[in-house]
């Protein structure tokens, strides 16, 4: 290969990235017998080494910037929740699911409404008798682990071999802390 062609590859060879091993071998093969190209390669390698050193000397931003930005975040809009409890997302999910489950247990004759898919992409189905989620409402999604039997009791179709197994599910929690929809995690 001519020096002209090789020199086009010298920078990539010096950078050590984004160049095929075959091409790199050709370049190194050439510079063995070409002092001019060898000199250029050495120069580019030194430049790359300095770049690497600059990249490693990590300047970090002052902490006060993050603090200032956090102060400028909007205040989350929250509906007033009933009672004095400040439920965490996970706690709310657990409690809400338990309530739905208990309801299902004590109303054996009632047939839960057929679950309605919220969105094909999200995979959520609305829970029976859950409040409808408005478009403006901000909901949280919390993952819980519960038995297949519990899921079945809530109107979620579960195959019989999974009834006694623990299954992970994602629960959508409304601003009032109640469960709205559920999807199987896997």
């Amino acid at each position: 290969m001519t020096c002209e062609v090789i020199r086009e590859q010298l920078i990539e060879t010096a950078r050590g990235r984004e160049l095929s091993s075959d091409l790199r071998a050709i370049v190194f093969g050439h510079v063995v017998d070409c002092p001019q190209c060898a000199e250029q390669l050495e120069l580019q390698q030194r430049l790359s080494a300095v770049f690497s050193e600059i990249a490693l000397r990590c300047a970090t931003p002052p902490k006060r910037i993050e603090d200032a930005l956090l102060r400028q975040l909007p205040v989350p809009i929250r509906k007033k929740r009933p009672g004095v409890w400040e439920w965490t997302g996970a706690g709310a999910a657990a409690a809400a699911l338990a309530i739905v489950f208990l309801w299902a247990q004590h109303h054996p004759g009632a047939t839960p409404a057929a679950p309605v898919a919220l969105s094909q992409s999200s995979g959520f189905v609305t829970l029976p008798f859950a409040e409808e989620t408005s478009a403006e409402e901000q909901t949280d999604i919390v993952r819980v682990s519960l038995s297949g039997e519990s899921l079945l009791a809530m109107g979620i179709p579960v195959s019989s071999d999974l009834l006694d197994q623990q299954i992970q599910a994602d629960v959508e929690i409304g601003m009032d802390g109640t469960a709205r929809a559920i999807r199987l995690a896997n």
């Binding site: 300095v50 600059i54 970090t60 930005l69 956090l70 400028q72 919390v142 519990s150």
Partner: protein
């Protein structure tokens, strides 16, 4: 019917986990593919932990980019702050189908840098475009070499400086840099090669002037 099993929250901590899993603990849950977008949505709605997560992941790179482009820590501070403010206030700008959040944030930072730094300055190339002086970066202390290269980078015209900063000092791939700069990969590569050649020429001139001084 059996008593219901105790429903145990799968997620107990309030910290937001990163990329490895599905969850944003206790507040929201997402997939790794949607993590950035969901974090941004949460941050924009005032979620401090989501914002901090985004900030911790991105701020160092943005700060260094601004610092390498401007050479001025005060400008880097301003650019960083303005970039993240724009990020949380601009509700419609980011579209994951058009590129990664990282590229989007770099794009904002790039525009902010241009506000503070004149990137289109004339670059007077020395006569010797590709010096053959292999001692160019030798015989200097490490500190001197780094200072010299940093100074030379700051003197590059904007498009070449951006390519050098992103591809060499930020170590972005050509593909990622092309997303940030909004130009084809081949253009990034040619700008980088040209920028490196200019740097070597500039360094030669700088070294000569230092020797003369």
């Amino acid at each position: 019917m059996k008593r219901p099993n105790k429903v145990e929250p799968f997620l107990k901590e309030k910290a937001i986990t990163h990329r490895s899993g599905m969850e944003i603990v206790g507040k929201a849950l997402t997939t790794p593919e949607n993590m950035d977008g969901d974090l941004l949505t949460l941050a924009r709605s005032g979620h401090h932990e989501a914002f901090s997560q985004l900030y911790r992941e991105r701020s160092d790179a943005i700060y260094r980019f601004a610092l390498h482009m401007s050479g001025n820590p005060a400008v880097a501070d301003e650019v960083l702050q303005e970039t993240f403010l724009a990020l949380i206030r601009d509700s419609g700008g980011f579209d994951p189908r058009r590129g990664s959040l990282a590229s989007y944030i770099f794009g904002i930072a790039r525009n902010r840098v241009r506000k503070y730094v004149a990137l289109d300055r004339e670059f007077t190339e020395p006569d010797q475009e590709t010096p053959g002086d292999t001692d160019l970066l030798a015989n200097l202390t490490r500190r001197e070499t780094i200072d010299l290269v940093r100074q030379a980078v700051l003197n590059l015209p904007g498009v070449y400086r951006e390519a050098v900063v992103l591809c060499e000092l930020q170590e972005l791939s050509y593909e990622d840099a092309s997303e940030v700069l909004g130009c084809p990969i081949g253009t990034v590569r040619s700008r980088l090669h040209r920028g490196r050649a200019m740097l070597l020429a500039k360094l030669t001139a700088m070294k000569k002037s230092r020797v003369l001084v």
